[in-house]
């Protein structure tokens, strides 16, 4: 076998393109393994693990593309590399009906009449610059990219306020605006519930549950995870609340976030009260006392339930799926004790960590509730572990696990082979942006994992939650059925899945105590909502979108018949930092 490597300096390709090229190259005759990745440290480690690393690739940086092939001989490897390069070029020059693929946000905004939103998913260090260009072109911004400095976030949000524009993000994964699902979002019925969410998968869970209860969503405004920090001060969230307050289609508002900074929480609750509409608040892991029009919810499911009750007058009836934790517990072999949660949704992971403590005590994680339980390496579990595979160590320069299921499949099998593991907990997230058939990917792996455990004289419980709707491209019912047939215990919500996993482990002897929730006091002071007329007008119609970055998001929008134009984006100044800084000084 012979490993050959090619490095392309300062070459930007979106990670979907890279994944597809990698997949195609792998299937070629004579290829043992292949990689097409940006040269981040994490990716280089993955290449090393796959036996695809060579010394020349160690110099590659995050803006450089590494093509690596392990083939039967040098000749084949070289031929395959050349083929891979051809594929990359082909993918870039894909034919579209458009006469011209604009290279900048400004010219794209001009080419699409009425363009009013930029959906930005370029690598983090370039994202703020693209967002600035978008604001200058008069566009609202959804900044999917993460790793944007907080100073840049504050600057962007200030600049947007001056222009009456909305900046959602950075790190805003989900939004539903004027009926259009943006980023990772589910296809939901339109209805009376508006959402402001700092938590992408939390918004997906709540909006999907509301849809599955027969109600619907007016708009879901994402804010990005850091918006409710003290530094940013909830600038986007409060504008989202103001817009939903004025929006005639919104009757009930749901506010979702991890616990905000206390002063921001107080301001937001005051703003929530100022909307004059009922507001359901779920600060995951914090208790908000219910008063007049404020309704505190303990879990995402609770939030959906209260919202549906307020909006329709009747409580929702999601199917309670039969599961007998005690019986599962009895089937476990001696020594099988631990829960291993493998999540793709960050907020779902966080909620599971909170709920599991009641049954398990402390849970290790790459995103733990207490720093003491931080895993030394996210790649290795210990005792009870729940990991967020959508966090940086897994995704810098690589595709999100909602779309690229491979790492999670491998991890699932590895956990299943651990004789101390009793339960595996999974989230399967459907919707736009997600894998086209995740259940189809995981069902065989779940089957194999359970067979291997049984072969070794053990029983393995696989608990899953499916976040999605019957209107999603993947179809909720089909996905659930496929997982159930593979032996998974599928629950109707993430909270139910986490509780089931905890109960099984409890039956196997684990003990814990409920985590004391953070108390958030309802403030006495009054606040005035900021002006949001421009945002309300923007929400009144489906957005017209300028997409910069992942082409998959533009494809999703086209499938929803939303008008979208893609920018043929390349890093500024070819990624050369010296000139990027100079251009900043020149206000470019």
């Amino acid at each position: 076998m012979s490993v050959r490597i090619r490095i392309k300096l300062s070459a930007y390709f979106d990670s979907v393109t890279l994944m597809l090229v990698q997949r195609e190259v792998r299937s070629l005759a004579g290829v043992r393994e292949a990689g097409a990745v940006m040269g981040t440290e994490a990716n280089k480690e993955l290449l090393r693990d796959a036996g695809l690393m060579a010394p020349e690739a160690s110099r590659a940086g995050p803006d450089d593309l590494i093509l690596s092939v392990d083939a039967v001989d040098v000749h084949t490897a070289e031929a395959v590399l050349a083929h891979a390069e051809g594929l990359l070029v082909q993918r870039r020059t894909r034919t579209t009906d458009e006469a011209y693929r604009p290279k900048t946000v400004a010219s794209a905004a001009r080419a699409l009449e009425g363009a009013n939103l930029a959906l930005i998913s370029v690598p983090g260090r370039f994202a703020a610059g693209v967002a600035r260009d978008a604001l200058a072109a008069g566009l609202h911004v959804m900044l999917f990219s993460d790793n944007v400095p907080i100073e840049a976030e504050i600057d962007l949000k200030r600049a947007a306020e001056d222009r009456g524009l909305l900046v959602m993000g950075p790190d805003c994964g989900t939004a539903i605006l004027g009926g259009a699902a943006l980023g990772f979002a589910n296809q939901v019925r339109r209805g009376p519930v508006g959402i402001v969410g700092a938590a992408g998968s939390g918004v997906q869970e709540v909006s999907s549950l509301i849809h599955r209860a027969g109600s619907g969503i007016s708009h879901a405004v994402g804010t990005g995870g850091r918006d409710l920090s003290a530094a940013v001060g909830g600038r986007t969230a409060v504008r989202g609340l103001a817009a939903l307050a004025a929006d005639p289609d919104t009757e009930v508002i749901v506010l979702i976030s991890k616990p905000p900074a206390p002063e921001v929480a107080a301001m937001l609750l005051a703003a929530a009260r100022a909307t004059g509409k009922p507001v359901v608040v779920n600060f995951v892991g914090a208790t908000v006392p219910s008063t007049e029009r404020l309704f505190g919810a303990q879990t995402l499911e609770d939030a959906a339930e209260i919202a549906v009750r307020l909006a329709t007058g009747t409580p929702p009836a999601w199917p309670r799926r039969q599961a007998l934790p005690a019986q599962e517990g009895l089937r476990l072999a001696p020594g099988q004790r631990f829960v291993r949660g493998l999540y793709s949704g960050g907020t779902l992971c966080y909620e599971a960590l909170l709920l599991l403590e009641r049954y398990l005590g402390p849970v290790h994680s790459n995103t733990p509730l207490d720093p003491a339980h931080l895993l030394p390496s996210a790649m290795r579990s210990r005792e009870h572990t729940v990991i967020d595979m959508g966090s940086d160590e897994f995704t810098v320069g690589r595709l999100h696990p909602m779309l690229d299921v491979e790492l999670r499949q491998q991890r699932l099998l590895r956990e299943a082979d651990d004789p101390e593991v009793a339960v595996i907990l999974l989230d399967i997230v459907l919707g736009w942006g997600a894998h086209s058939n995740p259940a189809g990917q995981f069902a065989p792996v779940i089957r194999r994992a359970r067979e291997r455990a049984q072969g070794a004289g053990r029983w393995l419980a696989v608990v899953a939650t499916v976040c999605g709707t019957d209107a999603d491209p993947q179809s909720y019912d089909d996905q659930v059925r496929e997982l159930v047939e593979a032996g998974a215990l599928v629950q109707s919500s993430n909270a139910q899945a986490a509780n089931l996993a905890g109960l099984i482990a409890e039956a196997a002897g684990s003990r814990g105590a409920p985590r004391a929730p953070v108390a958030v006091a309802v403030p006495s002071r009054e606040v005035r909502l900021p002006a949001a007329a421009g945002i309300v007008r923007f929400l009144a119609e489906p957005p017209k979108v300028v997409n910069v970055g992942l082409e998959l998001f533009a494809d999703s929008l086209r499938a929803q018949e939303v008008q979208v134009i893609s920018v043929d984006w390349q890093p500024p100044a070819g990624g050369k930092q010296k000139f990027i800084e100079m251009l900043d000084k020149l206000g470019a």
């Binding site: 900048t104 500024p572 100044a573 000139f579 100079m582 251009l583 020149l586 206000g587 470019a588």
Partner: protein, 417 residues
């Protein structure tokens, strides 16, 4: 004034310019600072040692034409003894295609841009085949130059006077609507110039055989209008030059060895890098390896927003950009990415009369990685062979990177003061 304001002002000066062809005169009567031992050439400054074949040939031809030497050997000796001075046409308000060689006794077109008081000059187009601008200096080449000086120039100057000059801005606007882009294709513009001049030429009282020769020249030379168009672009861009803080490119030019640009807010400095070899279509018998590196001041057309920037308007020459009108459209669309404004006077029919992309911003070039497109004739690398093809070239990115660095340095210096 901040950069955007400075660029706004520069852009307005470009759009508000009204260049007009005012007349023809001997170079030493109108071009400031020109003298018998000074040879003006295309592009940024260059010495004899680094000149490419076509430029050296044109210098030799220029010296013979001036009567300073009798032949090539004497010309080279004179240059090597340091008795000849060289300067870019651009340093003297002039422009010339290809080698651009302009000497004291040659006739030049005078273009005036009255709103801004700028004046620009260009030598006269010699037509096709063996010509001085490609480095040829045989007796027939020199005879042609003498005819231009002795016959064409005085008659046409009188005709222009009778006509009260020619409005070049309107002429360019019309030729763009008639399939020219003003650089590689000037068929419509040249025909219009002939049409505008013909009645006046007939009334100059010239001998009928001279008049016939002038009309033959106009009838047979599709590039006749190129030189006045270039001077019009030069007079326009000079109006936008020298605005403190402006990052607009006011000159792009090549001398066959280096590509150079100048920037409105950066004074008289040139930012240069080795010129590229154009890629294009070659006349039968010639190939890519015959091509000289990029040469000529004709890139002043792109600088002013026509030429390759108006490619969408010129479907007849799409072969240069890959063969389809769609590609021509994309060429123009791409240039909107690096320019600050659009010239409504030059509406492109194929783009619903959208104005041509105008005012190259060095910041946008460096940021997007898109260098300006240039349509160009291709010279043979040996002196005197002539044109071997036509095609497309782009300036080196280094020119724009250097200019961005210089602009940052000048802002920093301004702040310290």
């Amino acid at each position: 004034m901040n950069i955007d304001d400075a660029n706004h002002l520069a852009a307005h000066r470009i759009l508000d310019s009204t260049p007009a062809l005012a007349g023809i005169a001997r170079a030493d009567e109108v071009i400031p600072g020109i003298h018998r031992n000074l040879i003006l050439h295309a592009g940024p400054p260059i010495g004899w040692a680094r000149m490419s074949g076509p430029l050296r040939g044109a210098v030799i031809g220029g010296l013979i034409f001036e009567g300073l030497v009798k032949d090539e050997r004497a010309a080279v000796a004179m240059v090597e003894h340091g008795e000849v001075e060289f300067a870019p046409c651009h340093h003297h308000g002039a422009v010339g295609p290809m080698a651009g060689v302009t000497t004291a006794s040659m006739p030049v077109y005078i273009v005036e841009n009255r709103p801004f008081g700028t004046r620009a000059f260009s030598n006269l187009n010699e037509g096709y085949g063996k010509v001085l601008r490609y480095g040829a200096y045989s007796e027939d080449v020199l005879a042609r130059l003498r005819w231009l000086s002795d016959v064409y120039a005085p008659i046409t100057a009188r005709a222009l006077e009778r006509a009260g000059g020619l409005d070049m801005k309107t002429m360019i606007a019309q030729q763009i609507q008639m399939g020219d882009e003003g650089h590689n294709r000037n068929k419509a513009g040249s025909a219009m110039m002939a049409r505008a001049l013909a009645p006046h030429l007939a009334r100059t009282g010239a001998r009928s055989e001279d008049l016939a020769a002038v009309l033959d020249y106009l009838a047979g030379n599709d590039l006749a209008v190129l030189n006045p168009v270039m001077a019009a672009c030069k007079a326009t861009m000079d109006a936008a030059h020298g605005i403190a803080g402006s990052t607009i490119v006011t000159c792009m030019a090549r001398n066959g060895t280096d590509f150079g640009i100048r920037v409105s807010g950066l004074g008289d400095r040139w930012f240069t890098a080795p010129a590229q070899i154009p890629v294009g279509l070659f006349f039968p018998g010639y190939a890519q390896e015959d091509a000289n590196p990029d040469i000529g001041d004709s890139t002043i057309t792109e600088t002013a927003g026509i030429g390759a920037f108006a490619m969408a308007a010129a479907p007849a020459i799409v072969k240069f950009v890959g063969g389809t009108p769609k590609m021509a459209l994309e060429a123009t669309m791409e240039m909107y990415e690096i320019t600050v404004t659009e010239n409504p006077a030059f509406g492109i029919p194929q783009l619903e009369f959208r104005g041509t992309p105008t005012g190259i911003d060095i910041r946008k070039v460096v940021k997007t990685g898109i260098t300006p497109r240039v349509n160009t004739g291709i010279a043979h690398r040996r002196a005197g062979v002539g044109q071997v093809g036509a095609g497309l070239v782009r300036p080196p990115m280094e020119c724009f990177e250097q200019a961005v660095e210089a602009m940052v340095a000048s802002l920093d210096a301004g702040r310290e003061r």
